[in-house]
């Protein structure tokens, strides 16, 4: 083991059927450091953590833990815990109806007789040393989310932990709560605990972390000391794009221009929804393709959900073609000619057990009305038309949509919205998890729709794709809009620097 290391992973491989989730990944955690584990979705962060904590068995590789000779055999979460690795997950996994002390010690008292006095005293001492503002006898539910999170950490730390893994601990906290949590982390760090910090928030990484390990597509990109890795480099490493690399690709494409003086099809001003995004402005013109970009969790989806009424708006105004409109639910948006292809196809898109035909006609049918169902012949005609038009591979229109491949499911949802003949179509990650051929088809379709005078807002994690289709990009970071790029600014470099926070490479 390296000097000062508490945990070392060497050559970890993990395969799932058809997916190489981790390939030869190394990871080293030193005593008394906060180490950020970064990567976009699917990069392998969660898999690595699950291998480390014994949730998944590893296929290859070795794990060394300080105090144990030779490779450590972690076969279950219990093993990991006994070896001093504790994990606090994003969702709080404590019991809200028990007291703070009970939560800290439940399941850990060895004798059947429990000395609650002692436990409460011990808990109180630990809370004091860690500076957690909670009383041991207080019911957990009466604490704020941040304090609950800290109690979970206290519970983890008290089990003689050398390694603490925090998986997205800040995603449901506000700024002050985050600050409290950071104090606790720094406190623990000074006590020699090694902390693995998984987060999507760049600012937070640069606030508390000492080192960063970046994963991409299941492979190790590298380990960096925070001072050596400016934000923009971090972003480029996460996205797998070298700065200056491929700059300007696709610029000559048939992207539809943005006319500064044109009339907006839809406009939002200071819109804010229940999903916790900062108020934002938005506008789109007839025949324009624009997009939201930013890292995962930056609030891209939340913005378009607010436009469509999928999340309830709690402030700001919306107007269409210059007239003020109220969109309080998806049906309102649909009636104004807005279509929305959601990010999570399985959860929000398809109605799995229904047939391809029913899935295609669903939105138009709902717009037509409860008492005016399409006849079987009409529905069949619509379905056949779009199955042919989008080249959907299905045994028949009667096949349940869940038995189609991902790309074809996505086409079914596209067909659903095209059938409503929208004036403004929102596509949130339409190309995620589908094969390259279908991806290109969808990109071409977007440009074709724009040429027909429809407006499209496009979200994709792949910057290439955005550059190829969008004439204007709204850049988001940490749940707020931080910039808008048009014309010559539409380059990978510029996008990445804007995502990272404006500093130049």
């Amino acid at each position: 083991m390296q000097e000062g290391a508490v945990l070392e992973l060497r050559g970890i491989c993990k395969n799932f059927p058809g997916v190489r989730a981790l390939q030869n990944v190394d990871f080293t955690l030193r005593e008394g450091e906060i180490h950020a584990l970064m990567g976009e979705n699917g990069a392998g962060k969660s898999t690595l953590i699950k291998v480390l904590t014994g949730v998944y068995p590893k296929d290859e590789g070795t794990i060394y833990i300080r105090g144990y000779d030779g490779p450590a055999a972690i076969k279950s979460p219990q093993d990991a815990q006994e070896m001093g690795i504790s994990t606090v997950y994003q969702e709080i996994t404590l019991c809200p109806n028990l007291t703070v002390a009970e939560n800290m010690y439940i399941g850990r008292t060895k004798s059947s007789l429990t000395n609650w006095k002692k436990i409460n005293r011990d808990a109180g001492e630990l809370l004091d040393t860690l500076g957690i503002p909670a009383s041991p006898t207080q019911q957990l539910a009466s604490c704020s989310i941040a304090v609950q999170q800290m109690v979970a950490i206290a519970r983890a730390v008290d089990m003689e932990c050398k390694v603490l893994i925090l998986d997205e601990p800040t995603s449901s906290l506000d700024e002050q709560e985050v600050a409290k949590l950071f104090n606790l982390m720094i406190n623990l760090k000074s006590k020699g605990v090694g902390i693995v910090f998984v987060t999507h928030f760049l600012d937070q990484v640069y606030e508390v972390c000492d080192r960063i390990t970046v994963l991409r597509d299941g492979q190790l990109v590298g380990e960096y000391v925070i001072e050596d890795l400016p934000r923009v480099l971090l972003v480029s490493k996460m996205l797998g794009k070298e700065l200056d690399d491929l700059d300007g690709v696709g610029k000559a494409d048939a992207r539809v221009g943005y006319d500064a003086g044109g009339v907006s099809v839809m406009e939002a001003s200071q819109l804010v929804s229940t999903a916790g995004i900062k108020p934002f402005d938005f506008s789109i013109q007839k025949g324009e393709v624009n997009g939201f970009t930013g890292l995962l969790g930056s609030g891209r989806s939340e913005c378009v959900r607010a436009l469509f009424g999928a999340d309830r708006a709690i402030g700001g105004t919306l107007s269409m073609n210059g007239k003020k409109v109220r969109i309080s639910k998806p049906l309102d948006a649909m009636k104004h000619g807005i279509g929305y292809l959601p990010e999570d196809r399985k959860r929000d898109g398809i109605v799995g057990d229904l047939s391809v035909r029913d899935n295609i006609i669903l939105a138009l049918q709902v717009m037509k009305g409860f008492f005016r169902p399409f006849t079987r012949a009409q529905a069949e005609a619509f379905a056949d038309e779009y199955i042919k038009l989008l080249d959907i591979k299905t045994a028949s229109a009667d096949t349940p949509v869940k038995s189609l491949s991902g790309g074809n499911q996505q086409k079914v949802i596209l067909a659903r919205w095209l059938l409503t003949n929208p004036v403004f179509l929102i596509l949130d990650e339409p190309t995620r998890g589908i094969d390259i051929g279908t991806k290109l088809e969808i990109q071409k379709l977007v440009l074709k729709l724009a040429a027909q005078g429809k407006s499209v807002t496009f979200i994709s994690s792949e910057i290439d794709e955005m550059l190829r289709t969008c004439s204007r990009l709204i850049v988001m970071r940490d749940r707020k809009v931080v910039g808008e790029l048009t014309g010559d600014d539409l380059t990978q470099n510029k996008i990445m620097t804007t995502i990272a926070g404006g500093e130049n490479p």
């Binding site: 469509f308 999928a310 639910k329 998806p330 049906l331 649909m334 929305y340 959601p342 959860r347 929000d348 898109g349 398809i350 109605v351 799995g352 057990d353 229904l354 029913d358 669903l362 939105a363 049918q365 709902v366 717009m367 009305g369 409860f370 008492f371 169902p373 038009l389 989008l390 080249d391 591979k393 299905t394 045994a395 028949s396 096949t399 038995s403 189609l404 491949s405 790309g407 074809n408 086409k411 659903r416 094969d435 390259i436 051929g437 279908t438 290109l440 088809e441 969808i442 071409k444 379709l445």
Partner: protein, 373 residues
């Protein structure tokens, strides 16, 4: 994506499951209730073919009536069939069941009697036209249905827990409506709805059940109730994003359930011209749920097949009547029924049906699976 776009990578062609006629039959949702019905028919044919004789008799009032076990089955299944319609919709949309229907029938029946009798428990003449009593019963039952619906749809309480409230309280409420008295109606016309209309040899409940089936068939054909309930039951999130209001759809199915309860309750009190609060329609909710399960609709919601549920209801009544015919004492009836139910439910479980399908295909002449490109 026009045809000019060349797809470099083709999605793997989907296989059309053809297989033999037998395997296709066994996969169909309606297979289990039909098979169960056939087994019961064959069993009775072997045991005692007289089971199927239908004779034209005259009842005590001198009117022609058809009698025979088959008529009894059709007659007695009516309430269950009507409830199975409502239960199917409730199950599809909310992914849970309404266990309060028996108690709600007691309430509905009690309301009918209260309107017809006023405060007089042995009225010489009816205090209100029968149609008024029926309409009030519908209104009250739908209100109770709405109560269940609000709890399930808007307070997001599990259907079984939400309807447990009415299940527990319903029969007391029913007794309270009539001041704990048991009114008896002597007016002959009131009995027509649960028995025979003079001159017509077929029991009236059979007609009422048929009318209900026609109504639900029409509703499913001329509205989007079927599409919406299934869509909400399968995926409430995406239903909402397609403009459907999932909570309202769930709510409305409970109101429809209330209407079904009203009709069933009305038939029940008409049969006896009185009511026994503690036993009327006892355990009928379980039979109604069973009818849905037999019909092959998932009790966790989503896709449903109304015809199969209705058939399921008839199967249950067929079974009950068969057992009665073989002199199974009524206290032992549930045990016998349970054995048959275990068989049916296991047979209709997707795991078993998948296996059966594979078996059926193995024993059928091999046919190359057709592929589409």
């Amino acid at each position: 994506m026009t045809t000019s776009t060349k797809t470099p990578i083709q999605a793997p062609p989907q296989r059309v499951k053809t297989g033999s006629l037998l395997s296709r039959l066994t996969r169909h949702q309606i297979f289990i209730p039909i098979a169960a019905l056939l087994i019961l028919v064959v069993f009775n044919l072997i045991a005692d073919p007289s089971f199927f004789t239908i004779s034209l008799d005259h009842n005590s009032a001198g009117n022609p009536v058809l009698s025979g076990y088959l008529i009894t089955i059709l007659d007695n299944a009516s309430e269950l069939v009507i409830l199975a319609i409502g239960m199917t919709l409730v199950t599809a949309a909310s992914g849970g069941q309404d266990i309060s229907v028996g108690a709600a029938i007691a309430i509905g029946g009690s309301v009918v009697l209260r309107v017809l009798c006023g405060t007089d428990s042995r009225p010489e003449v009816l205090h209100a036209p029968i149609i008024v009593a029926f309409l009030v019963c519908c209104l009250v039952s739908m209100l109770f249905g709405a109560f269940n619906g609000v709890l399930v749809a808007y307070f997001k309480i599990q259907p079984m827990v939400a309807t447990l409230i009415l299940f527990t309280a319903g029969r007391s409420i029913a007794a309270w409506i009539n001041n704990n008295e048991l009114p008896i109606i002597s007016d002959a016309t009131f009995g027509y709805f649960g028995n025979f209309i003079p001159g017509i040899p077929i029991p009236t409940p059979v007609f009422i059940a048929v009318v209900c089936m026609i109504v639900i068939a029409a509703v499913l054909k001329f509205t989007n109730l079927g599409l919406y309930t299934q869509s909400v039951g399968i995926n409430a999130h995406s239903s909402r994003l397609n403009g459907i209001d999932p909570a309202f759809i769930k709510f409305i199915t409970y109101v429809i359930m209330g209407l079904c309860v009203a009709v069933a309750g009305f038939i029940k009190v008409s049969r006896f011209s009185t009511i026994n609060y503690s036993v009327v329609a006892k355990d009928i909710e379980m039979d109604a749920i069973l009818a849905v399960a037999l019909g092959g609709s998932a009790l966790s919601g989503g896709k449903f097949n109304m015809t199969a549920s209705i058939l399921g209801a008839y199967v249950i009544q067929f079974l009950t009547t068969t057992l009665f015919k073989f002199n199974v004492v009524s206290s032992a009836l549930p045990a016998y029924k349970a054995v048959v139910v275990i068989l049916l439910v296991v047979l209709s479980a997707p795991v078993v049906r998948e296996r059966l399908g594979i078996l059926a295909r193995r024993f059928s002449p091999a046919k190359p699976a057709k592929e589409v490109g």
